[in-house]
């Protein structure tokens, strides 16, 4: 007989699978981030479902502490991902990662092509679109 704790845990497992599929299959970067959040939330759900299963009926608080910590970590990772995506969009105008070419340098890509190129040491100064060096932290 499935208890409601088991049901939550199973739901978490299914959501983990859906999220993992989303990260791998979605091309749009924001969708990938949403899928990543889904994955982490599903793990937290499983963790909470575990805290129900104690012999005397009162919940176990250690998973709660772990979930709170995990939420903070996941939040920071999402924030970083979104800011990197925003910057990438500002640079390329795309919401997807540049094509996954073999990222070796055996093919000579012309400078400025929208391909995947290794950054030159020459271009260490970052210039924004209007030509001034930006400096915000």
């Amino acid at each position: 007989m499935l208890t409601h704790g088991d049901l939550f845990a199973l739901c978490g497992a299914v959501l983990f699978g859906i999220g993992l599929f989303g990260i791998l299959a979605c091309r749009h970067l924001v969708r990938k981030v949403i899928a990543l959040n889904l994955t982490s939330t599903s793990v937290f759900l499983i963790m909470i479902a575990l805290s129900i299963r104690t012999p005397d009926g009162s919940p176990d608080f250690v998973p709660h502490a772990m979930v709170l910590t995990g939420i903070v970590v996941s939040l920071s990772a999402t924030a970083l991902a979104l800011s990197l995506i925003r910057r990438l969009h500002r640079e390329t105008g795309q919401w997807e990662l540049p094509d996954v070419l073999p990222f070796d340098s055996t093919r000579r890509t012309p400078a400025g092509a929208a391909g995947y190129s290794v950054v030159d040491e020459e271009s260490r100064v970052q210039r924004s679109a209007d030509g001034e060096a930006t400096d915000d932290r």
Partner: protein, 496 residues
């Protein structure tokens, strides 16, 4: 000074300095980082004799014990990793101070790097998180520190804000987060079965049931994704090649070792009864494939930073051979060989990336064709690269040679002829691409015009490469330290 205080200091000093560095101007932040690095080097070197005499130390931070408090566990392996982190960290900090500083003579062509001010707090956070990772006593705290390391590393890769760097950082982010989620799911399963996340307690109570085996598989795969084991290495070459040189040195030298350190903790201390010969064989075969594939891909590269990054993929393969070699009587041999190899690799790869950075700055590009004749202009940096290559190849005398020698001995004693062959083949392939790069720089027909490079950026890589070489003759203390808390001989479960 007790071992506990040293460990706490190693976590608190970089974290506090990181917070202070957020409000300082760039030059002051650089000075603060150098000072913090010096303190950490002193703390980690004073930790070594303490651990040698006391053995492994377990410490409940602020007196609050597990399960709600955090325990620190410091043994020989932790101390070794702390020492290598401190030394490489100090050296990279000095290099970065010169790398990010604008030249005093703008006419000479040194342009300032935008966003350089953000490097110092991020680097200090990464450093503190690495230190915390090496001394954590429970799996969940290891997850938190691992995430800290990853996020700080990501921000450092994206520092230059160019398309290639941003795309590489995003790819690394998704790969690393998937790895973390798999690892976290494993923790959840373990907590559900044993009601503890303390890895020492888990090691004593783990049984071979379905949930535990599933947890072991999830955690090892997730961490293998973060350590860039073949075929999960796809994110590493662009990420390490597109980062600024000091960041690449730290990523390849230290961050990779962080997640590998976790796999070692899990395999030998938490799951020794659960892991099977099949699993060990699988990891070792993937490691062997990584050695061959990484070296072959490195041979094909025209750009040196990508070449060195693929070399990291190959060297990570050597690290994974321990999971089949450390069984029965060869456990100590394989354990020592792997850690020695990892230690030497941190120095050698750091030296390689830093020297490539200095040479790229001199010539303006890291394409091998532009480097023809460079040895005539920048002999010190080329020599540093060559010396680092000696350790990467595993030629005596170097730390890489000691590591490979011990691994080879373990492989031969174990009867693993295939692995022994692959270890030797890896050395040969490494020598091909290192020699190709170095001999190109000796071409005297095409001596390039170079820009001035700060003196310290030439000599620092040489110092690191020299450390890697010195390790080849001064290994005794390392092996002694590794014996503290070394895992007992693992007897792998024979399915027959």
């Amino acid at each position: 000074m007790t071992a506990e205080h040293a460990a706490i200091g190693l976590i608190v000093v970089p974290m506090a300095s990181a917070i202070v560095a957020l409000i300082l101007r760039e030059r002051q932040a650089a000075a603060l980082t150098v000072a913090a690095g010096g303190v950490q080097a002193w703390l980690s070197s004073s930790l070594a004799p303490l651990i040698l005499e006391q053995g492994a130390v377990r410490y409940a931070v602020a007196g609050w014990g597990a399960p709600l408090g955090i325990d620190l566990h410091i043994d020989g392996l932790s101390t070794v990793m702390l020492i290598v982190t401190s030394v490489v960290g100090v050296v990279v900090t000095l290099y970065a101070a010169a790398y990010f500083a604008p030249g005093s003579d703008p006419a000479a062509g040194r342009k300032p790097v935008a966003q350089a001010g953000a490097f110092w707090p991020l680097w200090l956070f990464l450093w503190g998180a690495l230190n915390a990772l090496f001394v954590s006593g429970d799996l969940f705290n290891l997850y938190v520190t691992l995430e800290l390391v990853t996020l700080a590393g990501l921000a450092l890769i994206g520092l230059r804000r160019q398309t290639a760097a941003l795309a590489a950082a995003l790819r690394y982010l998704f790969a690393a987060m998937v790895g973390s989620m798999l690892y976290l799911l494993g923790i959840v399963l373990l907590y559900g079965s044993y009601a503890t996340v303390d890895w020492e307690l888990l090691g004593q109570s783990v049984r071979g049931e379905a949930a535990t085996i599933c947890a072991a598989a999830l955690m090892v795969v997730g961490l293998a994704l973060k350590t860039a084991l073949f075929p999960l290495h796809f994110w590493l070459p662009p990420a390490h090649a597109n980062a600024p040189s000091p960041v690449s040195a730290v990523l390849s030298g230290l961050v990779i070792k962080g997640s590998f350190f976790l796999i070692l903790r899990l395999w030998f201390y938490v799951f020794p009864q659960v892991v099977t010969i099949g699993a060990g064989n699988l990891l070792a075969m993937l490691g062997a494939a990584a050695i061959v594939w990484g070296s072959l891909q490195a041979l094909r590269q025209r750009r040196l930073k990508l070449m060195v990054a693929y070399s990291t993929v190959a060297q990570v393969g050597y690290l994974f051979l321990v999971f089949v070699l450390a069984a029965g009587e060869t456990t100590t041999l394989a354990w020592r060989g792997t850690i020695c190899f990892a230690f030497a690799h941190a120095f050698a790869k750091g030296a390689a990336f830093l020297s490539v950075g200095a040479l790229s700055e001199a010539v303006g590009s890291d394409e091998l064709d532009r480097w023809r004749g460079l040895a005539h202009r920048e002999p010190v940096a080329v020599f540093a690269f060559g010396l680092a290559g000696v350790s990467l190849m595993g030629l005596p005398p170097s730390g890489g040679f000691i590591g490979k020698w011990l691994l080879l001995e373990a492989a031969l004693q174990h009867g693993q002829w295939g692995l022994a062959l692959v270890i030797l083949l890896g050395g040969v392939l490494t020598s091909i691409y290192v020699f190709r790069a170095v001999t190109a720089t000796f071409d005297s027909d095409a001596v390039p015009h170079v820009r001035p490079v700060p003196e310290i950026m030439r000599w620092i890589p040489l110092a690191l490469a020299f450390c890697a070489t010195l390790l080849g003759v001064a290994t005794g203390w390392l092996l002694q330290l590794l014996d503290v808390g070394a895992p007992l001989p693992v007897v792998l479960d024979d399915p027959s």
